[in-house]
Amino acid sequence: MAVLEQRQKQIFTTGSAGPFEMECSKPSLAGSVSQRACVFCGSRVVLYPIADAVHLVHGPIGCAAYTWDIRGALSSGPELHRLSFSTDLQELDVISGAEKKLYAALVELIDRYQPKAAFVYSTCIIGIIGDDVEAVCKKVSLEKGIPVLPVDSEGFKGTKKDGYRAACGALFKLTGQKALENISKYSINIMGEFNVAGESWIIRSYYEKMGVQVVSCLTGDARIEEIQRSHGAALNVVQCSGSMVYLAKMFEEHYGTPYLRVAYFGIEDVSEALYSVARFFKEPELMKRTQKLVREEIEAIYPKLQEYKKKLTGKKAAVYVGGAFKAFALVRALRLIGMKVVMVGSQTGNKDDYKQLQSMCDEGTVIVDDTNPLELSEFLKDKEVDLLIGGVKERPLAYKMGIGFCDHNHERKIPLAGFSGMLNFAEEIYSSVHSPVWKLVSRRRSLTENEGIEAGA
């Protein structure tokens, strides 16, 4: 198939000859229809779920408009995060600098909403016009008595991952600020869980049933005060390696807090996540409660899951997601329901991630870094895929080709994490793969003929 020459080192088929060395973590080729975003996007998605802070986007209007409430990160209390705040820079601001405007906007915002903290996101242009955002933040912080945190997220200064790092830097500045009363020795911070469709609530409930105290969740349904005492937790449990592992490492360095990397997606991964936390605390009763929890949860979903497996066995899936860690979990979960993963890729995976993917996947699986729609559509066609898992830009592509789809990104509407999430996931996939609409699609009709869809059959 047609692949840009320079892209050949970012595509690999397992089982093919030659050593496997993915050339990744590099900027997209100019002129490619990349599915990737920017530094700002990375920072924005990580910090956005903090519901009692204001999030001010410093730049022209677009960056604030496009990120206004785009991720279904739910809050059990305040909803400040779902509003869109911008300095809406104009030509004159760009010429003469926008520090005064930023100051005025921050003061207005803080006076109006009385938030517990403010985040100020620098967009591309701020890096060029040279506003001293940090100085403005410091000044407002002193005047208003709340943390005002600059987030260096100029879009061009790297990839989405650099945005995660900038967000982690801002979060870390909040830690160590509040007293550590009433924190159990069996306590954790949940990191890299953003409460999309209420998933953090499910995960939190598991830990609570195990007898583990959750000091903070970063950043799903988060509150500033919890983050300020998060250094009191005994352990950091990090999901979504791409976004939050930086923060976990900072905790380790500064507070000596160890961390575990987990995923909450799929029975194997979520069970292992809970067990690894239980093992860490070396408390027999806690382990017993965990075993009981896992057993009960699995018993509750297993029979139904087997039914889906029967109907999905042998169906072929392609996965294209942001972070590689999510890809691992998806490969395992799809296997659990009988599906075969024939293509897997990510926007931001690193060399080790791709090596791990290679070792997990069956022979003949295409592994790809930072793909584009043309490539993707070719893979989907060549591999005769039944289902694509991806994000907003991939959905219509799959549908146009007559292929089932599952959004595992911002736009998932039902929780897919945890045990109950696994069942939701299986049901969503089943409903899409077996939708009768595919029988109306001419390209796929020949593929499904043996299922008896011909007129009069």
């Binding site: 490619s32 496009y66 206004w68 699609v441």
Partner: protein, 458 residues
């Protein structure tokens, strides 16, 4: 109460925008460029811009949206984006093979000061642009104007690059539709056909962003105005530009470049604006209006007649883009409704003046703001409640919190379908708007009726 954070008391804000009623120029340029056949829009800036625009357009249209990016890095921010754009042009023509690359700038590349025509000339020199292929551009700094101006700039770019006057006149009319939906563009073409007039519609996103499900993915769908058509616009008899803000600049450019007389009209939304559009087309082409169109109009008037009691003096809050709001305000006035609060995010005093003029007899104390935001609109609604909100998807929060009937109209609409399939322009479009407005009023009446007062006939 999602918007519990909105206080009733209004304080003028100097520096802060809350819940914007606009977005930035480049997305408009991208949308316009998608209305050229076999064209790949090229976003000259960071990757995120392109990703955000594509995502937003995808959410609105539920269609694959193709555009490439110059993928700026720290290096490009220091040394300029020339190398990126040259590489992009080469790569795009090699692998994606469009007929046209339509470059738009971003706040980043504008501030750095990249000179696009100079870079394109260099690409040509280096043999990166194959014969018969084109690279066009427009400047769309995000800190000027709004998404609507971006659309206008790219549309004007089409004229700048393509329109030619051969001296041999063509019996055709140019129609610039403004930022409307694919369905609207389709409807404008149908009306012209019904009138027996050959038109060149540009841009034209029908059959690009409303494509049928075929089981195949086509990077460049069959729709869009073609290059020969765009070139021929210089020989047309006249140009009819719909919407002063979105279409005016291209029409004026065509007038000064090729001396094609232009008529800048309001978007044909509602009865009077559609009458005006049909009449202008008729005169420009020298044809008669067929009975079929007169009858369509008659059906629309019939609905208004039948349902007048439901429209009478209903108060409305409107938010959207200037061209749309002007026509909509006019239309609502025709229906005896009262638009009392009107906000657009796009700046420009002409808008406020025009709205006040339309409403001078019916709503002399209208709240109107160009360069406002949805927060302001919400505050106005809190102070002066309305019976109906018309605006994009983001209005749903206000509608829910204040418990007000809501009709989705404008950009973006991310939570319903229909906007890209059914027109709101022309008489057919007017009838659809009437149906939508009546539906929400009557659903509300039914919902609020008691078991005793619920009525069967309405």
């Amino acid at each position: 109460m999602l918007l519990r954070h909105t206080p009733k008391e209004i304080k003028e804000r100097e520096a802060l925008t809350v819940n914007p009623a606009k977005t930035c120029q480049p997305i408009g340029a991208m949308y316009a460029a998608l209305g050229i056949h076999n064209c790949l829009p090229q976003s000259h800036g960071s990757q995120g811009c392109c990703a955000y625009h594509r995502s937003t357009l995808t959410r609105h249209y539920k269609e694959p949206v193709m555009a490439a990016t110059s993928s700026f890095t720290e290096g490009s921010s220091v040394f300029g984006g020339q190398a990126n754009l040259l590489e992009a042009i080469g790569n795009i023509f090699t692998i994606y093979k469009p007929d046209v690359i339509a470059v738009h700038t971003t706040c980043l590349s504008e501030t750095i000061g990249d000179d696009i025509p100079q870079i394109v000339a260099k690409a040509k020199e280096e043999g990166k642009i194959p014969d018969g292929k084109y690279v066009i551009h427009c400047n769309t700094p995000s800190y000027v104007g709004s998404h609507v101006t971006g659309f206008a700039n790219m549309t004007r770019g089409m004229v700048n690059y393509f329109s030619e006057k051969t001296g041999v006149g063509k019996n055709q009319i140019n129609v610039i539709p403004g930022w409307v939906e694919p369905a609207d563009m389709r409807e404008i073409k149908r009306l012209a056909k019904e009138l027996g007039i050959k038109i060149v519609l540009f841009p034209d996103t029908s059959d690009v962003l409303d494509t049928p499900q075929t089981g195949k993915y086509r990077m460049f769908p069959k729709g869009g105005v073609t290059i020969p058509e765009l070139k021929s616009t210089g020989d047309s008899k006249a140009t009819v530009a719909l919407g002063a803000l979105a279409s005016g600049p291209a029409a004026e450019a065509l007038d000064s470049k090729c001396k094609v007389k232009c008529h800048i009209l309001d978007l044909p939304i509602g009865l009077q604006a559609t009458d005006n559009f049909i009449n202008t087309l008729r005169i420009a082409a020298g044809v008669n209006v067929p009975d079929s169109i007169t009858e369509e109009r008659g059906r629309m008037v019939d609905i208004i007649t039948d349902m007048q009691q439901y429209f009478y003096h209903k108060k409305v809050a409107l938010v959207g883009d200037p061209d749309q709001l002007i026509s909509l305000t006019q239309f609502l006035t025709e229906l005896d409704m009262k638009p009392i609060s009107i906000v657009t995010g796009t700046s420009g005093k002409a808008f406020e003046a025009r709205i006040r003029k339309i409403l001078k007899d019916t709503v002399p104390d209208v709240n109107v703001r160009a360069g406002g935001d949805m927060f302001l609109l919400h505050q106005w609604i809190k102070n002066e409640p309305v019976d109906l909100i018309i605006g994009n998807t983001y209005c749903k929060y206000i509608a829910k919190d204040e418990d007000i009937p809501f009709v989705r109209f404008g950009f973006p609409i991310e939570d319903r379908i229909g906007h890209s399939i059914f027109p709101t322009v022309g008489y057919q479009g007017g009838m659809r708007l009437l149906e939508k407005i009546l539906d929400v009023f009557m659903d509300r009446q039914d919902r609020d009726a008691t078991d005793t007062t619920i009525e069967l006939q309405m």
